[in-house]
Symmetry: C2
Subunit: 203 residues, 2 copies
DNA sequence: ACGGGAGTTAAACGAACGTTTGATATCTAG
DNA sequence: CTAGATATCAAACGTTCGTTTAACTCCCGT
């Protein structure tokens, strides 16, 4: 095995652990997923999780970190610009839904773990939320108040916007049982358009 | 101790377990809450949970059952009536938000556990969802399609409506860290009005 | 008044948990 | 070439998990 192969293999082991964790944490939950189940799925030795991530919780942190930073980047890229409020909102929702779709498993983990008050995790979830709230405030809430007089705080609006975009992915397992195939009858494009329409002109 | 006192005490033990479970499951999650932590909070013996509820999962089921049946009852009472679609929707949102507020801990448990695919739990979450979807379809989606031509399936709309109403409670622990007191700066009445306005005429 | 069922208890069960250790193989740097 | 870092491994660590058992108390129906 060449040196590059060895390093490559290590990187791949790390990556396999991440992928397996994202899948299992989203399907069974973080706490109900055991390390042995995880390493079996990732096809690595039991010790490798602690070797690469320090602890099981460290692994969760890295997953959440990657997801939140991507979500925040989308907010920055689509909202922190000149232009009409409606255009910005439409662009943000479009990109965010695409991002949620491409990372639906990490999204489910993030929302599931969101309300739990593990101090260690909560504190730095708040770190990401703080940045998000600031963007939503400057680019949506303040302009909205200026042009229509409606004052809605970003700490209230950001959760609304995030959860409505996430709703489809959170309910997917249940709705698939309610009506098989229901998670695909509405295209992602129509899903986006529906959310945009609700926010711009109501149902 | 009188007979009524004894029976009363048993009922109270059962009730204390339920209350402690609702609190702990919502704060720490179902799987991360241990039985010993639970019975210490409820001030009962370790065996009592299995005695009253059969298993830890039986306890979770009872909590979810009570929450879902209450939510479904509100949907029936406020939506399955004659009247204008907008009036019905406004009435439903008002009552549902009040219900979520009064049962915010059970709500958090329900949403957190929603995406996980434990077959036993998933199957009967789907049972409740099926009834909910049917009501939303008949009372909202079909009338909406008839009067405005917009076709949005209830398996897509019900999750949207539910999660936007739940958003405030799901994000409360995080938003409280972002801005202390932020979970009370918007009254429940204003929160309701905002959601109603979004759905009826947009932001 | 007494047998039976319901509530409660302390103790123990085996299993599974996350983590650590020490050895081994492989690659890198000097 | 060799010393050290890196990746992998099997095995064991001590805890904690959810559940079960058996004994005990107390109340109720007959």
């Amino acid at each position: 095995m060449k040196k590059t192969d060895k390093k490559q293999h290590a990187i791949e082991s790390r990556e396999r652990i991440l992928q397996a964790a994202i899948m299992l944490f989203s399907r069974h939950g973080f706490a109900e997923t055991g390390m042995r189940e995880l390493v079996a799925e990732a096809d690595v030795n039991l010790s490798m999780v602690n070797y690469f991530f320090g602890s099981k919780k460290g692994l969760l942190k890295e997953i959440l970190d990657a997801f939140f930073s991507g979500y925040l980047a989308i907010a920055r890229d689509t909202l922190v610009t000149d232009g009409d409020l409606q255009v910005k909102l439409e662009r943000f929702i479009g990109n965010a839904v695409r991002y949620f779709d491409a990372n639906r498993e990490a999204l489910v983990i993030a929302i599931s773990e969101l309300p739990h008050d593990d101090p260690e995790i909560l504190e730095y979830k708040a770190g990401w939320a703080r940045q998000m709230v600031e963007i939503i405030n400057h680019e949506i809430c303040l302009p909205l108040a200026a042009e229509s007089g409606r004052a809605i705080p970003p700490t209230c609006f950001a959760p609304m916007l995030t959860t409505i975009m996430a709703s489809r992915f959170l309910f997917a397992p249940v709705m698939e049982k309610v009506e098989a195939g229901s998670s695909t009858t509405v295209t992602m494009g129509d899903y986006t358009k529906t959310i945009v329409r609700i926010f711009l002109q109501g149902i």
